[in-house]
Symmetry: D3
Subunit: 134 residues, 6 copies
């Protein structure tokens, strides 16, 4: 079934709250038109159906997301969600604790690989924060 | 290298804070004596090295643990940690939010299988709470 | 956001077309009321958002589902979807070909474990068909 | 045991039918000579033992392959098999449906990562088709 | 392509060397006849193509097999291969070392779940050995 | 709990025995200071708690590590540990046998992807050995 526009708008707002940007779901040139529906569904599945809920606060949900995506090993998504976690109020020390926990629960290779991605985001973030304060 | 007794005692205390019980690490009859070292290492890796940290609070760490173990699909550990999450102050509604999130991030089959395990723990917990209040 | 009733009804119809049954999404006694929303979301994510599409035919989508769930190793879901595949017109020989393919692509242990589940469904199905024809 | 030449030739033909190219299995300079046997075994395992079967048609087997490899997250193999799927008659819209299905069954991060790879192949394919028709 | 009888016989002999038993590959009543080919392929893929090689010794290959299957989480296969490892000369202490290593590399939950399976095999083996010596 | 210096030194020595180098665990500029503790924990978990054990010899443990990390799909760690395996006495032919085994047990795509990484290490190693002997 098609994505209704209300779900799409709700997802857009949730994406903006997490990442600080709008994500386009348009099909790229060369993709079939239906690729837009694919992007809408992946986006609403996460951002209309889950990120809009209120029993968990957004920072906790964000930390859970980082942990799960590091377990799956999806680096591009991990990069985005570490940035999201910082935006939603997680501290670098909380992220260190999270990856120490992953070391115990998913093993050193995957936890280390995830930390390498997270670290890049933290280092850029520290630089931007420092530059902004000068 | 052998587990030093301080690490072991710290892990014992952390296990008790999460699960409300002491875990034995003794070798079973028929196992080699070194099986005790295996159990100590698995326990200290998680409970001395990670659960003792303080940047993340214990309830958040517990919710992260539930999410990661559901992603790995280890049912017995999941059962224990859903109980731990309730003990550390997570509510059933927070656990529902967590598994809705997993539906989006790891897919319906694994999220549904994880919820089946979590649900059993919640149902028993509700029954115990009800019995205790009568 | 809540599941709207149209999505729910569309998912109900798609579930019935695949499995021949209605699935309840009600919360169990002892679960929080929000568990119904979790079940609705897992169901609509798959059955309103994907099974209703028409570029792939239902039998092909069903075979893909069996292959993916065997790769994930979710036995309960696998059992249901092997039954669904038979209902949607897949033959036992097609399922054998699928698991031979999985042997090459995900390795013998997972393919063999998946076949053990699929075989149980086929054997029951063969027995039912035979009984019905007597 | 060594690969017999008949199996090797059957696999070569099946590879050519799927990808439109011959794959060499020769050892690279610096690899041990036995690396050729490794490549032959990986190739015959898939292409002599499975792709030669006839209960599933090749297009369906190809779509199943794309779904399974996206679930495993092996990008290089995914790229090759999305190309193979197009060669065997799958349409871009069928691939969109497949990745929408993966969104529901393996979660948005892995489905999105897989689509990013598939999309590159589709975009190049569209460009080549357009250039060829001018 | 069909399994040739030479490959099948070589695999039979390798299975017997690892597990001490013959495995039937016959189709079960209610399975299609082609299920025999599936079982033959899964068996020859491992036992004709790999276990017959000689660069690695059988005990080392067996320990590697145990480690990989514990990582995949396939319990039934793990049980068989822990038995195989003991038959091929691995000691219980070597298996303890292997699962301590898995604790570090795949995390405590999966290593602990794998050890639970391995431990059952060791305990039965110790009992059998003790009974036999009385 | 903090890493005690004895565990750290033991891990340093074990890392040097496997990889021939010292690994720094210092926090990078822009990372929080606690990142050093994360690196120490990931390192001691593997190198103080497991690599120091003596029931398995180091070459066997190294081959097991390569197999497990190829199964997890962590390329950077795989590269390091293939180098480690060569340093600890594994031969290129043994690594070929290992990846043929993985073909059967984890499937051709992951075994092939792992071999692509291992092959790069072997080719460089062959070149260095050849250069050194001239």
């Amino acid at each position: 079934m098609p994505i209704d526009q209300t779900r799409k708008q709700i997802a857009d707002a949730a994406v903006e709250a997490v990442f600080g940007i709008r994500l386009t779901t348009d099909a790229l040139p060369g993709e079939p038109a239906s690729a837009a529906e694919l992007r809408e569904k992946l986006m609403t599945q996460a951002f209309a159906d889950s990120w809009t809920r209120t029993a968990l606060d957004q920072k906790t949900r964000s930390l859970i997301t980082v942990a799960v995506i590091a377990t799956l090993g999806s680096d591009r998504e991990l990069r985005a969600h570490v940035g999201g976690a910082l935006k939603l109020g997680a501290t670098p020390d909380e992220l260190v604790d999270l990856f120490i926990h992953l070391g115990a629960y998913i093993g050193a290779p995957r936890a280390g690989a995830g930390w390498a991605v997270a670290s890049e985001v933290l280092v850029k973030h520290a630089k931007r924060t420092k530059d902004a304060s000068q």
